[in-house]
């Protein structure tokens, strides 16, 4: 499953970068994240609960490992989520390109989904992934605006 796109964010890459490394901000960018801690410089661990329509019992243990970190412009993530409802894992790339006063985030993720959610939730996967991405980016944007003291977008 491929998810990709671009999204304008307030602030220059330098400003955004530190916030992106903040587990609290990162958590907001991943809807349903109940807990996220920075276990190491390049490793986050947490719990994510996805509740969409009929799927309310999908809780995942989440591990995110950062790779190819090129502050303040780009990094990649190894995402690994496991739960009773199945698993999701893959890689995501995030790139910040300065544009005017702000930046444009180029994101792309290639995710595998397995187990029960893949087997019986197929009809909804595409819509759900689009929804989570949109929600995540909007949340991230709100958070950045908030932290940068700007008005919420």
């Amino acid at each position: 499953m491929i998810v990709e796109g671009t999204y304008p964010l307030p602030g220059t890459p330098v400003v955004i970068w530190d916030l992106l490394m903040d587990p609290e901000v990162l958590a907001k960018a991943m809807p349903g994240t109940k807990l996220l801690v920075r276990a190491a410089a390049d490793r986050y661990e947490g719990v994510m609960r996805i509740g969409i329509g009929p799927i309310t019992a999908a809780e995942f243990e989440l591990v995110i490992a950062l790779t190819d970190v090129l502050p303040p412009y780009s990094y990649a993530m190894q995402i690994d989520g496991k739960g009773r409802a199945g698993f999701t894992r893959g890689t995501a790339k995030v790139e910040l390109v300065p544009e005017g006063a702000g930046s444009v985030m180029h994101y792309s993720a290639d995710l595998q989904v397995g187990g029960k959610i893949a087997a019986v939730g197929q009809r909804l996967l595409d819509s759900v992934s689009k929804l989570l991405t949109r929600q995540g980016l909007e949340a991230l944007n709100r958070e950045l605006n908030h932290r940068l003291g700007g008005a919420p977008a």
Binding site: G53, T56, K116, I117, G121, Q122, R123, D126, V128
Partner: protein
């Protein structure tokens, strides 16, 4: 495939149900259960408690309203709507859609309120309610509010229902004079989730031009999608083959951004929107009655 354990409540009145809902945060209302129970059997859903609404007779009342419209109790079962002469007369679009919903055994159990609150993007009733400009009545322990169907569906399986709120009834306006309707869908097999569906209402003015067109699409987005550009294109036009063709083309190209799944790619869904919208509007135009036959 056995559900996880849960607490079970069967309130006898709406107030009791609302009270229970207020005190049990992670409780889920159980209406017909024809979508919820399969999800529970797969253990994709595991609510801590269920509040069974099947014991509340007041929620199952359906009847005509003085303005010639209809009021549907949320717990009215599909099979009741399907067989109701009143529905056939006052909401023929709804009547036409009913047989497309799953199978008789499911319709004997499933309820109109359950289907709307579940807000499955592939479900027929949300699109029909949007096309019919229905008003949904929501009740909480403290208040009642009325929400137009168009604003009730807020996203993927998402509705305007707040925690502690229940959908208690649905109000349908009488069919306008000189209006025609049509419901069309394509499913792999009869009763399956539609690959694409269209609920269309068309109203003409004295001059025979479209004064209002409502085209609600299902299975092409996060919820029912109102084809506003298609409708705008029809406004002021006679419902001719060419104007309908143009509207259908707009619906497919600009009104939808359909998802892909194993049964239908986005491109195929677009094509189905194009074809089914054209067919639905054509049939609706052909059904326009000179004037309202509803006694008011």
């Amino acid at each position: 495939m056995k559900p996880a354990a849960f607490e079970y409540h069967r309130p006898a009145s709406l107030d009791e149900a609302l009270a229970l809902l207020a005190e049990h945060e992670d409780a889920k209302p159980l209406a017909g259960g024809q979508s919820l129970i399969p999800a529970m059997n797969f253990r994709l859903a595991a609510p801590a408690a269920l509040i069974d609404l099947n014991g509340i007779g007041a929620l199952a009342r359906t009847g005509g309203m003085d303005d010639g419209g209809l009021q549907l109790g949320a717990m009215t079962r599909h099979c009741t709507l399907e067989r109701s002469p009143l529905v056939a007369e006052r909401a023929p679009l709804l009547a036409e859609a009913m047989p497309c919903i799953a199978h008789p055994q499911i319709r004997n159990r499933g309820t109109v309120g359950g289907s709307l609150a579940h807000a499955d993007p592939a479900a027929e009733l949300p699109a029909v309610m949007v096309a019919l400009e229905a008003t949904l009545v929501l009740r909480s322990a403290s208040a009642e509010r009325r929400v137009p169907a168009e604003q009730f569906f807020t996203g993927l399986f998402a509705t305007a229902l707040e925690p502690g709120e229940l959908l208690t009834s649905i109000e349908l306006p009488p069919p306008p004079a000189r209006s025609g309707f049509a419901f069309q869908e394509l499913a792999r097999r009869h009763g399956d989730y539609a690959l694409v569906g269209v609920a269309a209402m068309l109203t003409l003015n004295e001059a025979g031009q479209c004064s209002r067109a409502r085209v609600a699409l299902l299975s092409v987005g996060d919820g029912p999608v109102l084809a506003v550009r298609a409708a705008a294109a029809l406004a002021g036009q006679p419902p001719s083959a060419s104007s309908i063709l143009a509207a259908a083309e707009l619906a497919a190209r600009e009104d939808v951004d359909p998802p892909s799944d194993i049964h239908a790619s986005a491109a195929y869904r677009r094509q189905l929107v194009r074809v089914l919208t054209r067919r639905a509007l054509t049939r609706a135009a052909g059904r326009v009655r000179p004037s309202s036959s509803i006694p008011t």
